[in-house]
C-alpha cells in the first residue's frame, strides 16, 4: 500500500542551489529583515537606531566579503549558474554588485545624520534601503526575465516608500506618488515585453533565448521586435533615458536627499546592468535592430539632459538633469556594442557612483532642517562661508563636468575613445558637444557657491557629523584617485566585461 503511494507521488526534483552565488542577496535581504525584527523587539529604546545601523552595515560588509570570494571564484572557474539558470554570477555581475554595495553603504552613512536631523524614524528607513539593495544585487545577477521582473519590483517598491518617507513634506509625498505611478507603469510595460519575448522564443531565460535565436530563424519577427522594444522602454524608465525621463526631476527634487543619492547611484548601476545583460546575452544577433534605437535614446538623453538643466534654478533639479545626461554617456558606451564600450560603461558607473553620492552628500549637509529649499540663491556664498565643504562640492561639480585630473574626465574619455574605436563619430561629436553645454550649468552652481552672499541665502552652518564626513572625504578621494591614477580602475573594469 505504501509502495503504491510512493510510486504515485514522484519525487519533485528541486534545482540545485549554489548558496555562495546568492549569498550577497541573502546577506542584504537578511539584514533588512533583521532590522525590522530589531525594531519590533526593541521598540523605541535608546539602542534601537544604533542596533539597526549596525545591522545594516553588517549586511553590506558580509555581502562585500561574499562578492570578494565570488570575484576570485568566477575569475578562476568561470561564471556560476545556479537555481535552474535563474541566477548567473559572472565578473560583470560581481563588478556592478560591488558598485551597488558602495552606493548602499554610502547611502546608509549619510542617512544616519539626516534621519536624526529631520527626526524621522530610522529603522523602517534603513530596512527599506537594505531590501532595495538586495533587489539591486539580485537583478544584476539574474539570468531570467521573470527573475529580473521580480527583482525589479523588489528594488523599486522600497524606493517608492523611501521617496515618500518624509510625511511632513508635501514635496516628498508627491515625489513618492509620481515615482510609484510611473514606476508601476514602466514595470507593466517591461512585463509586456517579457510576455511578447516569451511568446516569440518560448523561454524567459536569457541564455535560452540567445541560443534559440542563434539556431532558429523566426517566421514572423514582429512579436519579438515589439517585445524587445517594450523591454527597452521599461528599462529606459529605470535608467532615466529620454523620452522616459519625465519622472526624474520631480522625484529627485522631492525625495529626501540621501534617498536621491541612493537612487541616482545604485539604481542606475542596477538598471544599466539589466539593460546591458538582456541585450548582450538574449539579443546579440538583433544588434542591427537595437543599435539604432539605442543611438536615438543616447542622443536624446544627452541633448535633453544637458539643455534642460540650463534653465533650472533648483540645485537638486539641475543635478537630476545632470543624472539624465550621465545616462546618455553610459548609453554611448553600450551602444558601440564592443568590449571596449562595455568596459567604458562599467568604469563610468563606478566613477559616477562616487561623484553622485559625494555631490548629494554635500547638498544634504548644506541644507537646513526641512530639506526643502535648494534654489541657487539659497546656496549663494556657501563656498566663501564654509570653504572646505564648499570647495569639495565645487570639486565634485567639476568632476561631473569632466575636468581633467578628476574621475569624471577619465570616465568620459573612455566612453568617447570607445565610440571612436568603433567609428561611431556622430555619437562622439554629440557627446563632446553635450559635455561642453553641461559645463555651463555645473559652472553656474559653482559660481553661485563662490559669489558673495546677498542676504537671501539659506544654508546650514552645522558641524559636519562623523558619518557624512567619512562619505564626503572618501568619495572625493576616490574621484581624485580615479582621475590621477586611472590604471588600476580601468584594469578592473577590463577584467569585469565578461559574462562567462
Amino acid at each position: 500500500m505504501t509502495g503504491f503511494v510512493l510510486a504515485a507521488i514522484a519525487p519533485i526534483t528541486t534545482p540545485s542551489v549554489d548558496w555562495l552565488g546568492v549569498a550577497p542577496v541573502i546577506a542584504l535581504g537578511g539584514a533588512g529583515v533583521a532590522i525590522v525584527l530589531a525594531r519590533a523587539l526593541l521598540r523605541r529604546s535608546a539602542v534601537t537606531t544604533p542596533v539597526c545601523v549596525a545591522l545594516g552595515i553588517l549586511g553590506v560588509v558580509l555581502a562585500a566579503i561574499f562578492e570578494y570570494r565570488l570575484w576570485h571564484l568566477v575569475r578562476a572557474d568561470g561564471a556560476i549558474t545556479t537555481m535552474a539558470g535563474m541566477v548567473r554570477v559572472d565578473p560583470f555581475g560581481v563588478f556592478l554588485s560591488v558598485v551597488v554595495l558602495i552606493g548602499t553603504i554610502y547611502a546608509l552613512f549619510i542617512s544616519v545624520a539626516y534621519l536624526k536631523r529631520e527626526s524621522l524614524d530610522a529603522p523602517e528607513y534603513l530596512a527599506l534601503v537594505m531590501l532595495s539593495a538586495a533587489g539591486m544585487v539580485a537583478i544584476i545577477t539574474a539570468n531570467d526575465l521573470i527573475a529580473i521582473f521580480v527583482a525589479l519590483e523588489v528594488l523599486s517598491i522600497p524606493l517608492y516608500v523611501l521617496a515618500a518617507f518624509d510625511r511632513r513634506r508635501m514635496a516628498s509625498q508627491e515625489a513618492g506618488l509620481k515615482y510609484f505611478v510611473l514606476g508601476a507603469f514602466s514595470s507593466a510595460v517591461f512585463l509586456y515585453g517579457v510576455a511578447l519575448t516569451y511568446g516569440a522564443t518560448g523561454s524567459t531565460s536569457l541564455t535560452a533565448i540567445g541560443d534559440f535565436l542563434a539556431n532558429n530563424t523566426l517566421y514572423e519577427q514582429g512579436t519579438l521586435l515589439a517585445g524587445g522594444a517594450l523591454l527597452l522602454a521599461g528599462l529606459g524608465f529605470k535608467v532615466a533615458a529620454v523620452p522616459f525621463h519625465f519622472w526624474t526631476p520631480d522625484v529627485y527634487e522631492g525625495a529626501p536627499t540621501p534617498v536621491t543619492a541612493f537612487m541616482a547611484a545604485a539604481t542606475k548601476a542596477a538598471a544599466f546592468a539589466v539593460l546591458i545583460r538582456v541585450f548582450s546575452i538574449a539579443f546579440p544577433l538583433y544588434r542591427t535592430d537595437w543599435k539604432p534605437a539605442l543611438w536615438v535614446l543616447a542622443v536624446l538623453t544627452l541633448v535633453v539632459g544637458s539643455v534642460a538643466a540650463l534653465v533650472q534654478t533648483d540645485v537638486k533639479r539641475i543635478l537630476a538633469y545632470s543624472a539624465i545626461a550621465h545616462s546618455g554617456y553610459i548609453l554611448i558606451g553600450f551602444q558601440t556594442g564592443t568590449i571596449a564600450g562595455r568596459q567604458a560603461a562599467l568604469l563610468y558607473l563606478l566613477i559616477y557612483t562616487f561623484m553622485a553620492i559625494g555631490t548629494f552628500a554635500v547638498i544634504m549637509l548644506a541644507s537646513m532642517t526641512g530639506d526643502d529649499r535648494h534654489s541657487l540663491d539659497d546656496y549663494r556664498g556657501f563656498a566663501l562661508q564654509r570653504p572646505v565643504l564648499g570647495g569639495i562640492l565645487i570639486f565634485f561639480l567639476l568632476a561631473q563636468a569632466g575636468i581633467p585630473l578628476t574621475g569624471g574626465f577619465i570616465a568620459k574619455l573612455e566612453v568617447f575613445s570607445a565610440a571612436a574605436q568603433s567609428n561611431n563619430y556622430s555619437l562622439l561629436v554629440i557627446g563632446v558637444l553635450a559635455a561642453v553645454v553641461a559645463m555651463f550649468f555645473y559652472l553656474r552652481i559653482a559660481l553661485a557657491l563662490a559669489s558673495p552672499a546677498t542676504g537671501g541665502e539659506y544654508f546650514s552652518d552645522r558641524r559636519v557629523d562623523r558619518w557624512s564626513g567619512v562619505v564626503v572625504a572618501t568619495a572625493a578621494l576616490a574621484v581624485l584617485a580615479t582621475g590621477v591614477t586611472p590604471g588600476p580602475f580601468i584594469d578592473w573594469a577590463r577584467q569585469a566585461v565578461y559574462f562567462v
Partner: protein
Amino acid sequence: MMAAIQITDTYYLVLSAALFSIGAVGVLVRRNVLVMFMSVELMLNAVNLTFVAFAKTLNDTSGQVIVFFTLVVAAAEVAVGLAIIVAIFRRRRGMTADDMRVLQG
C-alpha cells in the same frame, strides 16, 4: 445559418493587447490618482492574459506559472501604492494628479 466562429489563440492576444492599451492610455490621460492606479492593474492583468495565451500556444506551463509571480508582485504594489495615496489624501482630500504641482519647473 451562421458560420461558427473559431476562437483561436490570436483572439486572446488581440484582446490582451487592447486591454493593455486601454490601461496605458488610462494612466496617461486620467487625472484621478485611483483611476490611474486601476489602469496600471489593468495593464498587468492584460499581460497575464498574454502569458496564458502564449503558454497554450507553446504548450508550455511556465507561462502559466509566471502569472502567479505577476499576481504576487501586483499585490505588493497595491499595498504600497494605496498606502502612499492614503497618506496624501489625509492631507489633501479629493486630490487629482493636476493638484500635484509642488514639484515642477
